[in-house]
Amino acid sequence: MPAISFQAVSKSYASPRGPAGSTFLALDNVQFDIEEGEFFGLLGPNGAGKTTLISILAGLTRATSGRVMVQACDVQADYAQARRKLGIVPQELVFDPFFNVREALRFQSGYFGIRNNDDWIDELLTSLGLADKAGANMRQLSGGMKRRMLVAQALVHKPPVIVLDEPTAGVDVELRQTLWQFISKLNKQGHTVLLTTHYLEEAEALCGRIAMLKTGRVVALDRTSDLLKAASGNVLRFKTTGTLPPALAARARITGSVVQLPANSALEIEQYLAAVRESGLIVEDVEMRKADLEDVFIDIMNRSSAQQSAGVNA
């Protein structure tokens, strides 16, 4: 029995632009299973449909067609059971300003019918570094604390399946480490984890399997190690302050002055350097490294764009 099963899930919205009655397809026949105990990553650029998919899983949005099961419970027909099994950390930094940290966690426990949950609440607060904030009003918490509070609220009922929608946005490095240690511990204890994140190094380090979404479709689904193996090529990395020639810019991953290009052969490297020389750029700190998940991600996203535009032309 899979922990989560997405079965031919599609979601269309009324298109805000375009002629009346036209629809926008946010999810297109998404189909995959996440097994018990997995640490699973759901990646994709903004607008790919990750949050829509999680909203359908959470019961916040209804699928136009297809269905979603959590440990064999349909999230619509059997919503009460499905939601007991799910702990969802929402992406938006929301809180209830009327209550303090402990009150909010007690209420959240009560909604799930759990009384006298203080032992677990204390453990959550300690694990998430919020123990000294138990009596603080939600308004007094910093952004990072509110984010961790969302994690605590999602876990009050000890759900077997944990869903984290961009949990580390706006959280500093140290707190991110605390959070991942805690989530990894829960995963080792048998909790299934579904994670969406824009920090691909986190996904690479944590997730056993990864699905990539683009414009509502699954464009990659594999073990993280196999995804990395498939992109076994190397990367040429250098610094430059000038503007790259367009042919190179299209393939490059550019972070400030750092340029990274996929380089699978000596010939390719030579061609890059020749193009750079011709354009008169000054290049520093040239080095080679192994491809990481971000390279794989960019490569898959570019390839699926190429396929889509080829499909349109055909």
Partner: protein, 251 residues
Amino acid sequence: MSGWQTLFYKEVLRFWKVGFQTVAAPVLTAMMYLLIFGHVLEDHVKVYETVRYTAFLIPGLVMMSVLQNAFANSSSSLIQSKIMGNLVFLLLTPLSHWSWFVAYVGSSIVRGLVVGAGVLLVAVWFAPLTFAAPLWIVVFAILGAALMGAMGLIAGLWAEKFDQLAAFQNFVIMPMTFLSGVFYSIGSLPAFWQTASHLNPFFYMIDGFRYGFFGVSDASPWLSLGIVGSALSVVSLIAMHLLRTGYKIRS
């Protein structure tokens, strides 16, 4: 506590924590009405032979406070949670639409009754009151508060902004309350407005409530009970339907 009990308790605690604004303020407002209208109209308006005007006014003001605060409780709680985004914490739980309904309407009844009791406590200083049929007082207070709590639930689900809610309050709730005989007996109105008032469910809530104090009223308390009960059933069914389908809270 079970799920609905927790939500009910949370909703009660929510208004109680800001009691100065949710309880003390409406009591003060009602006291101002009583002071000014009671003083100015005491010798000019005669409603029932045996009842002083100020005494007549008190049950109307108490019920008006009950109704307005019951409405304000569920509607403002929902719109705040929607705008703040923290409604998601409820949406992610296994709470059924029954639980939502009972908790939101129940807490609205509590707020209505607390404010009503506060107004009554202050009002007894202004005029001696009789309690001819106390059971009617309790029944109409609870049914009226439930009806308004359920209306507030609908308005809170429907409204996307605070000003939409304010419009609902100013253009629907306020006129219906003021045209319901809070300040006068509808027997003193011209024929047309008397007929119009008989179509206003608020009239029956206040008239029935007042019957409990004086044992006299414009309509039979049983008729009022029937109408208020029916209105409550219809509004509750609508509210439950909206909750079940996730109207404007689940897409």
